[in-house]
Subunit: 464 residues, 4 copies
């Protein structure tokens, strides 16, 4: 199969040369189609999408930009639906979808969707938090729950929220969660609690919250205290307090909302994920299963974001109308240096993510923790640096609503703490590095020392 030459404009020849053997013909075909979809449909729809969101505080959260349904229809037509699950254990859910992609292939494809990150992932039914939520219900839900929530999610008919983060709690370690409880009372589970940063909870199409609640506070294991509950956002007692803002962006109409659950009465059979009381206390376990590849998807889209920023920078500095001090911007040595470094940093960072995706293919997410961790703390730093350089050459326009750069920066910034702050990943990677590597290098050092002595070298007494 001859290669779609556009692929080499997204993945430079040097990079593609290393990745290519990991790509099936099928993967290449999907990648090519995704490029078409993103370039011809999603990127052009971006302005319309934003212009279809009302400035009126009342209307702002009541409707969803109509253009999204057009994009979704197009994505289905092109066979780009639910690609995220096509290679995994839930492939049966994805009838008629792309199918058969490895994590590496899907990761590379996800990068391209990062060019149009506000529209493309959702248009392809591949966006957070729905993907993780579908995974949870598919894996742990009862048949009734699958019928009620999973099928419409898979079909893109409803959306969902994941209600985990709590105010004042270092929520990246889920065992810390404590401000939301559910207590059995007269055959009902009564939910009370306070969450924030619940992405998508403002969306008028949001039809279910998966809520992490403490159900067994006294359990001696901190991993047996929580339960996942399915909650209807229209149930009495569910209140959307306000949208949180990200550097001034409220991300309407999806939003990242502060939510209060005030004596919400739930039927345990329908609300507990799995539908049976024996699933009380299994929340932590289900949460663990939810994480993993998702981080890689964020990272890959983030590489796409960085590439788009660099594209914008290259366009800007090559605009002959913009001379300063008698030179076009691309004649300034410092500007060229920023471009070259950005290209080098992007390619290097992408390899880290692709390598992690490959490890997930080989050893599942659990066996790829170190590689995922490295990608997780390395990529957002690069993306932020590249966007910042691109903003700088744009002057004031770069941080305004006329360019996507400031919004890209703000959202890329969240990746430095979402799913665990950089610092946590960095410490964990170092610990795994030392655990896995020390025995070998200590042994080698001892062997070298013994051999040196034998060769008659003057050496200090052996030390570690």
């Amino acid at each position: 199969m001859s290669l779609d030459p556009r692929i080499l404009h997204y993945f430079p020849r040097g990079t593609w040369g290393l990745i290519e053997p990991h790509f099936s013909d099928h993967g290449k075909k999907i990648l090519s189609t995704v490029i078409t979809f993103v370039e011809d449909y999603c990127m052009p729809a971006e302005k319309v999408f934003h212009q279809q969101i009302s400035d009126d505080p009342k209307l702002r959260w009541a409707t969803y930009p109509a253009v999204m349904e057009d994009l979704k229809a197009k994505a289905r037509d092109l066979g780009l639906w639910n690609l995220w699950l096509s290679g995994g254990e839930f492939q049966h859910l994805a009838k008629g979808s792309g199918g058969g992609l490895s994590n590496l292939e899907y990761g590379v494809i996800a990068e391209v969707t990062g060019y149009a990150s506000r529209t493309a992932p959702e248009a392809m039914n591949c966006s957070a938090p729905d993907t993780g939520n579908m995974e949870v219900i598919a894996r742990f839900g009862s048949e009734a729950q699958k019928q009620k929530y999973l099928l419409p999610l898979v079909a893109g008919k409803i959306r969902s929220a994941f209600s985990m983060t709590e105010y004042g709690v270092a929520s990246s370690d889920a065992s810390n969660l404590r401000n939301t409880t559910a207590v059995m009372k007269n055959g009902k589970l009564v939910l009370n609690g306070h969450k924030w940063w619940i992405s998508g909870a403002g969306d008028p199409r949001c039809s279910v919250h998966i809520v992490v609640a403490v159900t067994d506070p006294g359990n001696s294991s901190k991993h047996r205290k929580h339960t996942l509950l399915l909650v209807d956002p229209k149930a009495p007692g569910v209140e959307i307090v306000r949208p949180m803002s990200v550097f001034g962006y409220d991300d309407a109409p999806e939003g990242h909302c502060e939510v209060v659950y005030n004596n919400v009465e739930l039927d345990p059979t329908t609300a507990i994920v799995g539908g049976v009381s024996s699933n009380l206390g299994r929340g932590f376990e289900m949460l663990q299963a939810r994480l993993g590849p998702g981080r890689i998807h964020h990272c890959m889209r983030s590489i796409g974001v960085a590439n788009r920023a660099l594209d914008l920078m290259e366009l800007r500095v090559s605009n002959p109308a913009r001379k300063t001090f008698g030179k076009q911007l691309n004649e300034h040595g410092t500007v060229l240096a920023d471009i070259a470094k950005s290209r080098a940093e992007i390619e290097a960072a992408r390899f880290l993510v692709v390598a992690a995706a490959r490890q997930i293919d080989l050893h599942k997410a659990k066996g790829a923790l170190k590689d995922i961790g490295i990608a997780k703390f390395s990529v957002p730093a690069v993306t932020l640096t590249v966007i910042d350089r691109a903003m700088q050459v744009h002057g004031a326009e770069g941080i305004s609503q006329d360019q996507p750069l400031a919004s890209m920066y703000a959202h890329a910034r969240t990746l430095r703490y979402a799913d665990g702050p950089d610092e946590v990943h960095i410490q964990q990677v170092a610990k795994v590095e030392l655990r896995d590597r020390l025995p070998y290098i200590q042994d080698r050092a001892a062997r070298i020392h013994a051999a040196e002595v034998k060769m008659g070298a003057k050496v200090r007494p052996a030390k570690l």
Copy 2:
């Protein structure tokens, strides 16, 4: 073939997972053997090697450490001889050698030799400047020149120097060279000139200089002024003025020497590379052919140097005897952060080199200039950073003769200007990036703009 598990201690699982499909079974076998050679022979020989170099200024440059011949013999036994040329056009020269490696495979293998960079490359007859010199003679030399110089070089019986760099001249652009001339006089070429930083010229085994001399100063093309000349270092008029030092290292007995050619009389037939007067003025062209993969070899060995520094750091901070402020060093968060970042930066940098090596395999060095440039300016910065962190945890010992770190730092530092300073590569990469990339992204921007307008978005007038 089951994988030698040691490979995964040099190339972490995540990295190897991406590289592996590019490796033949043969390549894996050689890689495995090189690990054995470096661990069991070269690294243990390092102290002896240094201790066999005399401190007496007279003896210091008169003999070469005897241990090197032992290592060379071992490398031949193991089939690790001349691996650098085994995959290229001069493979016929390498009878009995490893053979058949791609540039990618050789690059990965070269990294391992970087762990013992003072001994392993030479022991395997793979060290600069001999590799490049052999290439020049093989490609352009006359039969007599091949007999006289190439065969003993291939056999590791003599060594050579490449006499290019001139004082006061930005020599990385060879067309600038002007301080060395050769003039025909009575049938002889009379060579006069002044060079410095001639690596290996101090070596008692050095038996030929390839000298870049101006032979046609008036030529209208700056690429037709120079000629490559083969000069016997023992000829009358060749004077080794002094060794230059790299930081405080003189790198005896090879050295990086200042050399004066004072009325050295040369027979044109034997001295002009190619042996015929028609080769006068072809020096620049031959120089171009000489560069290329060599830069990648430096980069790959440099990754090995960085990995060795990280190994030393991990050993040091895990030494239970070294507590500060009540904690072992590997319990300090900042130390762990340095380890994790070093690992991430090394893996990212290595991918850049491996990708460039792959491009050389696919498109030859000329077709991989951007990728080589990216690797060239990215790798030494990482290596220096990692070594610096490793030095810091070693305290004073880290910069002393008791650890290899300071010497590694000093020599890695030279890579930021050798074969062209970072700044030159950075500017060139940016220009290629813009040249190759702009047409596509400008066209895409225009298409997106047109589509936006069609969709009814409010947009400013089109701009680039």
Copy 3:
């Protein structure tokens, strides 16, 4: 006079020790009063200020938060009115104000107002763009213009805008401005043009725009083409198109507006700054006079912003309720390192600004260009770094509306291009450095060389 001990909580003892001799007792008293004003009035008013701005797009730009008038009254009571002009040539305007401050003193005081940057500067009638606009009118305006605009500005009764920046023009070099013209027609100056990023133009109290317009496009000097015009924002033809946003902040109700002037008819006598036709073409000259100390004020407030971010960071990491992985945040080595580095970087950056302020005192702004340039490109980078670290320890809250950090970041980011991008200042500083410094060090090098030779040292021939 004994020192108000609170001063040492804003200016650490080490820093104050160096600055103190530059401070008069009067200056110390004002500084002390400003601390009171900022701590007791401005910082507590911040939330109310924001809550008094309506979310309704129609009301949002129609009223100004009432709390501001309270703060202004308080500032007058405390003698903190118009401090910015008290030391300069316009001191007579500031009857009853603080008075008598040097630029250094005012700079140090401005830093404290940076802690409450949305309220304190305006409350003290010290905020941009009014300060610069008052300076222009005071210096160049006619008596009638002073009566009409200057006195109410000095009294804080009206506000003003400075209408300079143009879309698509590198406006930091004012000689580039070209999209706004004023042409004499039937005794009227007819203004047409398109500006954006006009700060304060959205403010319902804004009563005058100072517009930079081309009036003599054919003038052979690029410094004689522009004229400053005073324009009533309610005049027919003045249209506020939209507010520009900074990241996602619209900064209502002041805003940074896109403004169109569409056939606005002006009376030359009242509109041309100075009131006479002979001032046509003097715009560039007046602009030059307007810049200078203003940049230092931005920088000093920016240091205050950085200090506030560090305070928030220290508070957060010392909160005993926030443990991660069993440790309070201030027990993590990497967090402590970020605090120590932030402190060091802030103190170092502040000295650069204070030194520049001192130079303005000694040599006026023109004689302090290099020092101003150094401060200008050094300070925002530090402020952004410190805010970023503070955001990181706050997790999601750090980028939300519940903390001021994201807004601080967004606005500090604008300082990297406002009044000239970093790159321009960096290049200029380097050129002044070389111009001023080279003759001395070249001469010294020659003297040293001659002396070395005389002492019998072996030296290479002299070179520069």
Copy 4:
């Protein structure tokens, strides 16, 4: 007094403007004389100094460059002798010396000596380790010890070593020292131990070691175990094992030596600092008194080193003979950026040191620990960065013996761990910052919160 205009070539106008009020006329006069001494005598003597050191390993350590005695005579003539102690409690020792300088003044002056760091400090009898050693003996020594060691040291007739650092011990925390012991036996103290990095111990003029030895290993206080002993380097049992090297430099003939004390018999009366047995166990206390201003002196000289590197860079890039790619180096934007940043970073770093020196003047070293710590970890990083940039524009010459840059880099690198590694100072500064600052900002936060509530703002419940 009119200012010597050369001062403004060492301390740019902006910087001097802030420092000047701290300088007495006397200080300015000394500063001016030091500039003369360094420019006219020390810098020209540098090459001769190095050329007077033999390459022969036997002679290398036997004689000291004769030029030093000339420089010392000249310094005495100029009244530049022992300036380091002139302002302190030992001023009486410095009869006929400069006298009367504050720590700030001496610090600023020390910077200029950093331009000729191999010669000027010693020539002025202001070099480590002698200054600290003189301080110890002056403060704690017996009269006999003062006669025997202090007077010749003050007169520059002998030199000394400070024998503290031990192999395998984190010696920056002196309480860790354990490999050297002195035991009373038959009325003699018998010293056994192993030290390394003993600067100056190789110097043929070195006449006394101050040795830190464990004399009471069982003492319950780790601060009462050590004693300072005065040892004659020619006593039986004292063996200089080898010089340690710093990036390949052995710094002959002074050296940084590994030293073994093998059953060295000492008379307690003459050997114990103070001359009485009751001083056994007071070593730690004496060590504490020894540190302090010394760190600032290193930092100030290090600023001088950075400035010299920048001077060399400016000379090099302004050399018209050195064009690359058709431009002189100072026409490249990236080169100019490096110059501007270096200037900004040097000025900022210098202020930190000067501020710390001022604090020592006001509150003694103990009261300036935070300021000293900030200077200590900030300055070497700047110096290293500036030197590295200067090396880069010099290409290969930059790291060779033909320029001082590589040696400057190597020795500046040692400052990142000498007298405590960066990491230790960083952690301590952060702790002092939090200790001193938190109570105020916590109180202020509480006050602001209370006031906000009173003003009717909607606020979350108070938190720290």
